[in-house]
């Protein structure tokens, strides 16, 4: 069962194509990360999903739902609230606007605000809130009507490390109960909670799949051998027929079709007179993958 299907989504402003023929689908109760550098079209894509922007072409479909706005919760990158309303008044208002009846709206608002950790600030004006509190309120207002799909635009980018950790933990908790689609340019976040990755570059969807799949495609496994001196490293590299790459005292040996194996490497080194400090098998970090997939922005 698919929760939402996006096909051939395109958005052009004048003659500039900001989102170019994107297709993907999201399964219920999963979390999907929309990854890409600034200007890749992440926010535009999310805006179209919320209905704030209408697409130039393509379609967004949700099974059995007429007005998608009633089943979506949205948190923009910089949520802005009416500064003269208290957190509870605000959440209650938006809950009612989403069609929840008066009594229920109050109950649900109180519950969700306590859940996101604003229990002590229910009656404080939102104008006095700090960045982290605003983000919490943002999450609360996005969740108060129990949406099927939660859209988050850079949920933690604007926060300090402490606030970031708190919000990430909160999102991980929420993840168990609802479907999340969030955009980010911070890969550690994506690594922490993601079932599906969508890489955007210049408005195009350049790569998609689970973290494991993308890893497998781009990880480029290598051996990293550290020698006691750079001469030894150079010597090893020049003697061996393997694909080597020297960086000071370190030599990276490429693994092609699972050759050589760790066993073979160890045997080889054990029988030589090189003095070795360490050897390990390394794979590309998500950051390197990111750079590989979306990094060469100019070449688009």
């Amino acid at each position: 069962m698919t929760l939402i299907t996006v096909s051939d989504l395109t958005k052009t402003f004048g003659n500039q194509t900001v989102v170019d023929n994107i297709s993907f689908s999201i399964e219920p109760n999963t979390s999907t990360a929309l990854i890409g550098p600034n200007g890749a079209g992440k926010t535009t894509t999310l805006s179209m999903l919320t209905g704030l922007l209408s697409q130039t072409s393509g379609s967004i479909k949700m099974e059995g739902v007429k007005d998608m706005r009633s089943v979506i919760g949205f948190l923009p990158q910089y949520p802005k609230f009416f500064s003269w309303l208290s957190a509870l008044e605000y959440t209650e208002m938006v809950a009612k606007l989403s069609g929840i009846e008066v009594k229920q709206a109050k109950l649900q608002s109180q519950k969700i605000l306590e859940y996101v950790g604003l229990g002590a600030a229910l009656h404080k004006k939102t104008g006095t809130f700090s960045g982290g509190m605003k983000q919490r309120l943002g999450i609360a207002q996005a969740l108060v009507h129990k949406p099927k799909l939660l859209l988050l635009d850079e949920p933690v980018s604007a926060l300090d490390p402490v606030g970031r950790r708190e919000i990430m933990n909160l999102l991980k908790e929420i993840q168990n109960e609802t479907t999340i689609l969030y955009s980010t340019h911070i890969l550690n976040d994506a690594e922490e909670m993601t079932d599906q990755l969508l890489f955007l570059r210049g408005g195009k969807l350049v790569e998609k799949g689970s973290l494991k799949e993308v890893r497998a495609r781009f990880e480029e496994p290598r051996f990293k051998i550290k020698f006691s001196s750079s001469q030894q490293a150079l010597q090893f590299a020049s003697q061996s027929e393997l694909h080597c790459h020297v960086e000071g005292e370190k030599v990276f040996v490429e693994i092609v079709h699972e050759q050589p194996t760790m066993q073979q490497m160890l045997n080889r080194l054990a029988n030589s007179q090189f003095s070795i400090e360490s050897i390990e098998k390394v794979t590309a970090s998500l950051e390197e993958i990111f750079m590989k997939v979306v990094g060469s922005y100019e070449s688009v």
């Binding site: 704030l52 706005r69 990158q77 802005k80 609230f81 009416f82 309303l85 938006v94 606007l97």
Partner: protein, 260 residues
């Protein structure tokens, strides 16, 4: 309907907490009080600030109560309207520009409820202000100049309130259509410019929406010619509906201009 109620509640809270409901009526009360008092004490004021030169003959005009009410209306028509327009012309556009509208627009919100709530509260606050202003003016006029006929005054007030309704509908519709600065310029140009135009060449035109304030004043006087009045009333009601429809349309089509 329930969305309309929720949004009206929000707008009223805003008006209350930003003190609009306090200072706008105060502005109108000040404007309303100034004419009866200034005119009545004009001689005393002139004496107090240095007197009239000797040999200078000046006859102070004899004002009737209706003249004073008309003078107060003149104040409301210029300064009062500018203050009202400036206060409410950003009611929709500013929310879009600062991004607070975004989290409302992503809800299954009805744009007619949105526009009507804005217009309703703007009109309500404006009406309270105008009524407060007229009440203050009337109080001093009656004390200093004599009685005003009640039924005529009510007829005048009702007609003037229709005009306020219309101005607020235009203001909020402009706010839905353009950015705050453009909307303010256009609205002030249309309302104040139109009023000036009306006062210059109005006597050659019998039917125009800008006639509403002057015909409301004519209702106060003894010789009142009501032939075009009904037509003007109908025209104003028609325009009111048109402004509201345009406003709702623009609310919907410009929703995507909200800052995300």
């Amino acid at each position: 309907m329930s969305q309309f109620k929720v949004l009206v509640g929000k707008e009223l809270r805003e008006s209350w907490r930003s003190f609009k409901l306090l200072w706008l009526p105060l502005v109108f009360i000040l404007l309303g009080v100034s004419d009866p008092i200034l005119n009545y004490y004009m001689m005393d004021i002139l004496k107090a600030v240095g007197g009239i030169p000797e040999g200078f003959q000046m006859v102070m005009p004899e004002f009737s109560a209706a003249d004073i009410i008309a003078a107060s209306t003149g104040q409301f028509q210029s300064i009062g309207l500018i203050v009202l327009i400036a206060t409410f012309v950003g009611t929709i556009s500013r929310e879009r520009q600062n991004g607070t509208a975004t989290l409302l627009y992503v809800r299954p919100i009805s744009h007619s409820a949105l526009f009507l709530s804005k217009w309703f509260v703007a009109t309500l606050v404006a009406m309270i202000s105008v009524i407060a202003g007229y009440a203050a003016s009337l109080y001093y006029t009656v004390i200093l100049y004599g009685p005003v006929e009640w039924n005529r005054f009510i007829a005048m007030l009702a007609t003037y309130l229709l005009w306020i309704c219309l101005v607020m509908a235009l203001t909020v519709a402009m706010s839905a259509s353009f950015k705050t600065v453009v909307a303010a310029t256009l609205t002030i140009f249309l309302v104040i410019g139109g009023t000036i135009f009306e006062s210059l060449v109005g006597s050659f035109i019998s039917v125009s929406p800008w006639k509403l304030p002057s015909s409301s004043l004519a209702l106060l006087s003894d010789f009142y010619d009501g032939t075009d009045f009904i037509i003007n009333l109908c025209l104003s009601f028609g325009l009111l509906i048109i402004f509201i429809l345009i406003g709702i349309m623009m609310c919907k089509s410009n929703a995507s201009t909200t800052k995300i």
